[in-house]
Every structure is written in structure tokens, then in C-alpha cells.
């Protein structure tokens, strides 16, 4: 099944022309930003950052974060079924080893230490950025494999805009959303109401049962409401006050395995509130953020888990001289947890600073340092050093080089430390050391632009926490040592011919994650060595066609690598047409997912749907 990747590659190579390329759409281009935030790459340079703007987020309308990451970034997402628990494995790390940030604040559940990507709709999100690798010095806990940033942006001077989205799809899938935005030169308001429902009663061939019967899933329905409100006010040209609220409530019937008929349910409620004040002066960019995060997970209507986080973050980005700037600040988080298994509260403080030094125009160096403290125990000091170098002889050819060395960490989750029975309060933080180097290439021609980037990395994570059987119950321990190394490649090409614009973007991840704790150096379960995605877009006048290939390689399902799931390949197609009618912009889009009707399992014994359809209508007033 390695052929799946070969298809991606062949498809890509055949459609290309001569071998010249450039800085990809994944390698952030500095853009004009509103006053709200410092661009990630200012202090994150030297590492791989991939961003998806609104247009890219809407290529497959009505999708969630896990769809985006697997289809467009080629990142491996472990999914228990459509709309079911989905977690990320960045660079072969575990589900809790990626920080997920909403406007700069980590929204991973403090109890579980991870996010369910199926619960994060993209409607209302203006930009998604994947910051690969050990970014703990910049972002704090969890960012061992990387960080995902979801951001919302306030637009000014746009008057009033209304956007209506309606999606209908196979298996009772339906999404309706209304977004109203209004802004003048001082105020910006956005209100979003979004509703998703899906029966998920898809048919599949039950390959695990005798006679491989065709069955229909009867327990996988989803219902989600998603409400967002943001208000931004610019009292002057150099300051901004913003308030953001995000509420989602999701009820799910949990899809059982193909050999079970259990009827478990899960209800999640997430309320995220944020207020921030930003102030710019000649040399300073001050920002203070207050956030309140309330997450509730109710399993089978009886097992309740409630956590609350109260966060203050203060930072200043100070341009000391032309060639030198520093960003420094502090974050305080008071966490309370009220679960069926335990009640706990704790304070977390982070002190951090980064310095960016550009002695000559072709060379930039960033050093970062973070100290996290959780109640009375200390997490190791977390440093990072990153650099980019693009000397003239390389730059003339479109190349630039980058490198990074970084430490990262993960505070043991509240469940790890306090779960009764088994919680282990003596756990140490998980501790990562990572090296990476990369080369970026970009070239613009009259009718085409090319971008490519190649990254190699090597990472060692020590004190990796695993729950182990201990007497009559399970208990977590810092017992595993893991090495992950690999190569990430991305190539993007935009070509223009007459009225056609062809856009292609190929992402490929080669990765091996091995457990060093045993002599056999086995792969960690669910870390495919190959994943890839190819997105091809053809624009012709008001038409757009989309071809999306997605490949996930073989992966082991148990620690001893005795059982393996086959690789799978998915093809998704889309066709959209946009027109204006009485000043109203209307976009209609039809999509076919899993075109070749592949019966596959992403995770063992979890059925996935075959060929299915969605139809979208967007009206912008």
C-alpha cells in the first residue's frame, strides 16, 4: 500500500513542469496584521509553520479541525469514527503532545491534557496555523510535537456583512450557520450561530464479523451548537480592546467497535471567554489577556468531569533596537477540577522571554526561555534557539535555510496525578529535546509561483507517561523513552494559463517513532511512517474544482507491533460555482468524499463511511 503515496507523488510530478520551486503557502508570509497579535513566525522562525487562511479553511465547507489537518496538512489524525473522538499525532507524538491554542490561550482540557479535534468546528475561525515541533519555550506545556493555533480576527471599516451557510449531506448530515459582522473604523462586532446535526447511519461492510455482513451504524448521531460573539474596539489608532466568547455544546452517541453494540454517550460543553487589551507605542507592543475556560465532559450521563481555568497573561514585545527585539511576559492560570473521580485545584505560572537578533539582513537568531511552575513543583527550564540564514548566493536562487534546537515539556495532566484510583502525584513532567533543520525555496515567475520546503527533525522525549497495571488498578508512570525522527516535505505550485488557475499543494510526512524503553526499538502504536495529502484546485472563471488525495500508511495497533492496520487512501472531489444576484454573492458547492468507496479503518475496528456526498450553499449579503 505504499503505492498510495506513490500515486500522490506521480500525480504531482506529472502535473508539474520543470524543476523549479519556492517558498510554500505553508511557510508563512508576513502579512499586515491587526493590532491584536504578534505574528507567530517573528519568534518562531527557524521552525516549520504552516498556515491556513479563511479561503483554505473553506475549501471543504462545514468541516472540522480534524478534517482540515488530515486533508490539507497530511497530518495523522486518529479518529474513532466520523465526528467521534479525534486526536492528533504530530511528529509521532501522543494526543496530549500538541498544544491547541485559541487566540493564544491553550484550550486543551486540563483533566485529559488534550483536545478532541472533532469538537472544534472551523466555522468562525479565521486562521489555523500548525507550528511543528518542540515549541514549549514559546507556548508552554503540551507543545512537544507542536502547536495548533486557531485565531479569530476583527475587521474594521467593513460595514455590515451577513453570511449564511447551509450544508446537507449523506447520513443525515446538516449544518446551518449565520454569521453577522458589522464594523466601522472604531468598532467591530461579529456574531455567529452554528448548528450541526448528523445521524451518521452509514452502511459499511463489517469485515470483522463472520460472513462480512453489510451493516448500518445505528449509534453514532451527533448534535452540536456553536455560538461565537466577538466585539473589538479601537479607542485610538494604537490600542484595541477585544472581547471574545465561544460556546459549544455537543451531544454524541459514541460509535461502538464493529464487534460491539454498546450504547455509550458523551456530552461536552465548552465555554471560552476572553478579554484583551493591546497597546502599541514606538517600541512596545503591550498586551494583557484575561481568559476563562470552562469544560465539561459528561459520559453516559453519570461520569462527570468539570474543569475551569482562570487565566491572566501579560506580555510585551519590545523593539530595543533596529536589530534586536525581545518579547517577555508571564501567565498565571488557576485551575479547578471537579470530577466524579477527584476534586482538585492548582495554580500554574509561566515566565517567558524570547529575544530576536538580526545582526545582518541574511541572518536572524531567536533565543527563548520559559520557566513553568505548578504549585510547589518546578518544571525544568525550557530553552530554544532558532535561526534562519539566507545568504545572497542562496537567496538569489530562492533558497533560505533554517535550524532549531529546543526543549519542550508536558505537565502531567490532572487525571495523571489525581485520578482515583491510580493517580500518581509524584510524576515528573514529560521532557522533550528536539533538533530540526530545513530549507525553504520559493520562486515567482510571470504566470506561476513555486514553493517548497523540506524539514528534517530528530526528537527525544523522556519521562513519557504511560498507565501501567499496578496491583488491582492502573497507575501512570514516567517510564517510556521515545525517539521520533523524520522528514517533512511540502511543495506548492500556482500556475496561470488563460482563464485557468491551477493550485496544487503536496504535503508528505515520513516519520518513525520508536520506543527506546525496550531493546527491540518498536514503533509506537498508531504512528504511521507515511502520511500525505495532495490538494489540487482549478479555478476557471466562477468555477472551482477541487481534487483532494489523502494517504495514511500502515500503522501498528499494539505496542509489540504484532498487529497492523493496512494503509488507506481517500479521494475527495468538489465543484463549486459562484455568482452574484442582486448584489448578493452566492456560492454553491457539491462534494464527493471517499470517491473510490474504500472500506477502511483509521483505527482498529472503527467503521468509516464509504462514498458520501455533501452539498453547500453560501449566501453573502
Amino acid at each position: 500500500m505504499k503505492t498510495g503515496f506513490c500515486v500522490l507523488l506521480i500525480a504531482f510530478l506529472l502535473s508539474g513542469t520543470t524543476a523549479y520551486a519556492q517558498l510554500g503557502s505553508d511557510t508563512l508570509l508576513l502579512e499586515a496584521v491587526e493590532i491584536k497579535s504578534v505574528p507567530l513566525e517573528k519568534y518562531g522562525l527557524g521552525t516549520k509553520i504552516q498556515t491556513f487562511d479563511q479561503e483554505q479553511l473553506r475549501i471543504f465547507p462545514s468541516s472540522n479541525l480534524s478534517d482540515l489537518l488530515s486533508r490539507q496538512a497530511g497530518v495523522y489524525i486518529k479518529s474513532y469514527g466520523p465526528g467521534m473522538l479525534s486526536s492528533i499525532s504530530l511528529r509521532g507524538t501522543g494526543a496530549g503532545h500538541t498544544g491547541v491554542f485559541w487566540n493564544g490561550i491553550n484550550i486543551n482540557y486540563p483533566s485529559l491534557g488534550q483536545s478532541d479535534f472533532a469538537l472544534l468546528p472551523l466555522v468562525g475561525v479565521d486562521q489555523v496555523a500548525i507550528h511543528y515541533g518542540a515549541t514549549g519555550a514559546l507556548y508552554g506545556t503540551d507543545a512537544i510535537g507542536g502547536a495548533i493555533h486557531l485565531s479569530q480576527k476583527s475587521n474594521f471599516k467593513q460595514g455590515s456583512q451577513v453570511r449564511l451557510d447551509q450544508m446537507l449531506g449523506s447520513f443525515g448530515r446538516m449544518r446551518s450557520s449565520v454569521n453577522y459582522r458589522w464594523s466601522n473604523d472604531q468598532w467591530s462586532i461579529s456574531t455567529l450561530i452554528d448548528r450541526l446535526a448528523a445521524e451518521n447511519d452509514f452502511e459499511y461492510i463489517n469485515t470483522a464479523k463472520i460472513g462480512r455482513p453489510k451493516e448500518r451504524l445505528d449509534h453514532g448521531a451527533i448534535s452540536q451548537y456553536n455560538v461565537q460573539q466577538s466585539i473589538a474596539w479601537k479607542p485610538g489608532a494604537l490600542s484595541q480592546i477585544s472581547v471574545n466568547a465561544w460556546y459549544t455544546t455537543t451531544d454524541r452517541e459514541l460509535q461502538p467497535t464493529m464487534l460491539s453494540n454498546t450504547k455509550d454517550t458523551q456530552a461536552d460543553q465548552n465555554l471560552r471567554l476572553m478579554a484583551d487589551y493591546s497597546l502599541m507605542s514606538d517600541n512596545h507592543f503591550w498586551q494583557i489577556k484575561f481568559a476563562y475556560l470552562s469544560d465539561q465532559l459528561l459520559y453516559n450521563e453519570s461520569d462527570d468531569s468539570k474543569t475551569k481555568q482562570h487565566i491572566i497573561k501579560l506580555e510585551d514585545d519590545w523593539s530595543i533596537a533596529d536589530k534586536l527585539s525581545i518579547k517577555y511576559g508571564a501567565l498565571y492560570n488557576y485551575v479547578t477540577a471537579d470530577l466524579s473521580a477527584y476534586e482538585e485545584e492548582e495554580s500554574r505560572t509561566d515566565l517567558f522571554a524570547s529575544a530576536r537578533w538580526q545582526p545582518i539582513s541574511s541572518f536572524t537568531l531567536v533565543g527563548s526561555l520559559r520557566q513553568a511552575l505548578v504549585d510547589d513543583w518546578t518544571i525544568p527550564l525550557t530553552p530554544a534557539v532558532n535561526a534562519t540564514w539566507s545568504p545572497d548566493f542562496l537567496q538569489n536562487k530562492g533558497f533560505s535555510l533554517r535550524a532549531s534546537w529546543a526543549r519542550s515539556f508536558k505537565t502531567p495532566t490532572l487525571n495523571d496525578r489525581y485520578w482515583r484510583p491510580g493517580g500518581n502525584p509524584d510524576l515528573l513532567a514529560e521532557d522533550g529535546i528536539s533538533y530540526e533543520a530545513g530549507v525553504d525555496f520559493s520562486k515567482k515567475r510571470k504566470n506561476s509561483s513555486w514553493g517548497a520546503s523540506l524539514t528534517v527533525f530528530d526528537m527525544l522525549v523522556d519521562n513519557w507517561i504511560l498507565w501501567q497495571p499496578k496491583g488491582s488498578f492502573w497507575s501512570p508512570e514516567n517510564i517510556q523513552k521515545v525517539n521520533s525522527s523524520g522528514v517533512e516535505m511540502s511543495i506548492s505550485v500556482t500556475q496561470r494559463l488563460a482563464n485557468f488557475v491551477l493550485d496544487q499543494s503536496l504535503q508528505y510526512h515520513l516519520n518513525r517513532t520508536v520506543n527506546l524503553s525496550n531493546t527491540e526499538r518498536r514503533d509506537l502504536p498508531y504512528t504511521p511512517r507515511h502520511t500525505g495529502a495532495l490538494l489540487q484546485k482549478i479555478n476557471f472563471n466562477s468555477w472551482q474544482a477541487i481534487i483532494n488525495h489523502q494517504y495514511t500508511g500502515e500503522r501498528f495497533i499494539t505496542a509489540d507491533n504484532a498487529q497492523m492496520l493496512p494503509a488507506f487512501y481517500e479521494l475527495n472531489l468538489g465543484l463549486s460555482y459562484q455568482f452574484s444576484w442582486n448584489g448578493t454573492k452566492i456560492t454553491a458547492q457539491a462534494n464527493v468524499h471517499n470517491v473510490s468507496n474504500v472500506m477502511y479503518q483509521n483505527m482498529n475496528l472503527r467503521a468509516m463511511p464509504g462514498r458520501n456526498y455533501t452539498f453547500n450553499l453560501t449566501i453573502e449579503l
Binding site: 503505492t3 498510495g4 500515486v7 506521480i10 500525480a11 506529472l14 502535473s15 513542469t17 469485515t207 470483522a208 464479523k209 463472520i210 460472513g211 462480512r212 467497535t257 464487534l259 460491539s260 453494540n261 454498546t262 450504547k263 453516559n300 453519570s302 482515583r420 484510583p421 491510580g422 504511560l466 501501567q468 497495571p469 496491583g471 488491582s472 488498578f473 500556475q495 494559463l497 488563460a498 485557468f500 491551477l502 502504536p525 489540487q536 481534487i547 488525495h549 495497533i557 499494539t558 505496542a559 509489540d560 504484532a562 498487529q563 493496512p566 488507506f568 487512501y569 479521494l571 470517491v595 473510490s596 468507496n597 474504500v598 472500506m599 477502511y600 483505527m603 482498529n604 475496528l605 472503527r606
Partner: protein, 357 residues
Amino acid sequence: MKMLNQFKSFLLILLLSAVFGCNNYETPEIEVGEFSNGVWVINEGGFSVSGELSFYSFDTEDVQNNVYAAQNGGAMPGSFLQSLTVFNNTGYLAIDNANQVQIIDMADLRVTGQINDLAKPQQLLVVGNNKAYVSEWGEDGFGTQIAVVNLSTRTITERITVGQGPKQMILANGSVYVLNTGGFGSDDNMTVINPTTDEVENTITLVDGPNSMVVDAEGFIWVACSGRYAPDFSRLEVSGALLKVDPGLGEIVERFDFESEFSSPSELAITANGQRMYYLYNGGVYDFAINASALNDSPLIERSFYGLGINNRTGQLFLSDPLDFNSDGKIVIYSSAGIALDSANVGLVPSSFYFVN
């Protein structure tokens, strides 16, 4: 021209995509011998990995794994296999996560039917002509019932209310004894049922968490109890115990308490002559003669195991080690004196044995 090439390539991709239209799930092919002289190892499986059956042959001293899949066209039984009961060469496999008992022809391990509509079935016990009881933990793990099954129609005819989390059942002196383990909660007793009338005759109070029982040569029932943890799980507030129950009197006649605050006895098994018992406790395998006056201080075998079985013909001990619960486990065979004789790799989380000899 360039554009044309690109569209050609799109076509190619579409064509190639069709190649992936069928994903092949391979059926493992195993040469299966006669299942006449050996032991079945029941591998429980895990949340997202099915259980399986392995067969260790006493003739070849070799193990065959994934026998169920091999004999059933690649199909799998399901997660959390709780027990295998064999009656008249028909096997009854209780599959917790599938809410089902599967009926198997033990000669070739082919599935011949199912008993459905169960809730976390733990064990099937044949109690009469075409009649069986199935202990169930209920949908939430706090169930208090056993199902009465008509074996010819394979349907549930009624349910009998017992204690919480009924698991092991034995038929002795014309009565059925049901251990109420507590399931996901706790309970501390044994229900006695008349299998002719399906009426509950008695409830015998034991110690918290009864987990396994055997009948000795003199007709007494011995029960291993897990005890009970303090609400904060810091220690056992009721320690583990080994109890001798007189089924006639319906009460405990002898009680041995265990010292450990964290470990308690489990997997109680008895030799064919009903004179010597074995159990797992505190990282070891212990033995105990039925007329002994005190528990043994030191283990016969110093190694932590998960499941224990005794070959009635040879007296050999079969022990299972699930390793990290996320890798295929091992079985280790010991002489009755505790000397290791052989070991074999089996499936995920081996937990119990069924001997055929």
C-alpha cells in the same frame, strides 16, 4: 500544452484512485490440527482489539494463535472475552463488549450461533436439559441479574435477580452458587439458586469482592475475596480473604485474612483430587492445602500473573502474563512444585484456560 499535460495527469490520478477501491483485509491462514489434547487459552483482548483463542498442544508443545479468525474466515469474536464454557463438545464464549455469547463447535472452532440480548455476559453455566444460566454485569456494570437461557432456541426465557456484578457460577449438590463480585461497584455475597425452579434459595454473606471459588474434596466451597478499598483508594480498608463455606449450613466456617493493604488473593483453583488450592497474591503464586491451619508466608512461584489454570491430568500449573496489556501475552507452564517447564506466546491479555485431555 502545459495545461493539457496537467489535465492528463488529473485523469491519471482518477484512474489510479480506482485501484484503491478495494482494500484487502487478509485472512490469516493457520494450519489447524486436532484440538484434542491441549489447552485453550482465552485472550481477553482490549478496548479496540478483539479477543482471540489460542491452542497449546500437549503433543507438540506448540501454540497456535488466532484460531478463531483462522477457522471463521478472518472474523473476530469481540472485546473482553470473559470465559469459555464447554458442554457436550459445544463451546459457549461469553463476550462482555459484544453483549453476546457465541456458540462454537469445539471440534473445529467454527461458530454455530449466538445468544443475543445479554448485557456484559460473564459466564455461561449449563444447569439442566437445554437450560443454562448466564451471569451479566448489566449495561452500566452495576447489574444484578442472571439470564435463564433456552439452549435449543438460544433465547432468554427469564431473568433471576441476584447480587451485584454476578460472575462465577458453579453447580454443586444440586444447587447453583453465584458469586456476586460487585461488578464496577462492590458487593459481598453469594446467591444460591435452585436450578429446577429458578428460585433463589439463599444468600450467603461473604467478605467484599468475592472473585473466585472452588469446591474441595470434602464438599466445602472456598472463596477468594478481593476486599474493599477505602474511598480514596489509599489502601484496602477491608483486606483480602480466603473463606471456607459450608454450603449445607450456608455460612462461613473458616476465614483466613491477608496482610497486604494493596493486594488480595484471586484466581483460586483446585487440583483434581480436591486437596490443594492455588491462587495469585502479591506478585506471586501461592498454594494451600485444604486442611492447613494458616496461609503460606512465601509464594511457590515469585512472579506476577493474571490468570491461573490447573491441568487436572498432570497437575501442572498454567499461568498467564499479559505483559503491558498492549502486547501479545505469554503463558508459562509450571510443575505442581513450581518449576517452570515451558512458555509460549499467545494473544492479547491471556486470562483463562480450558483444558482438553
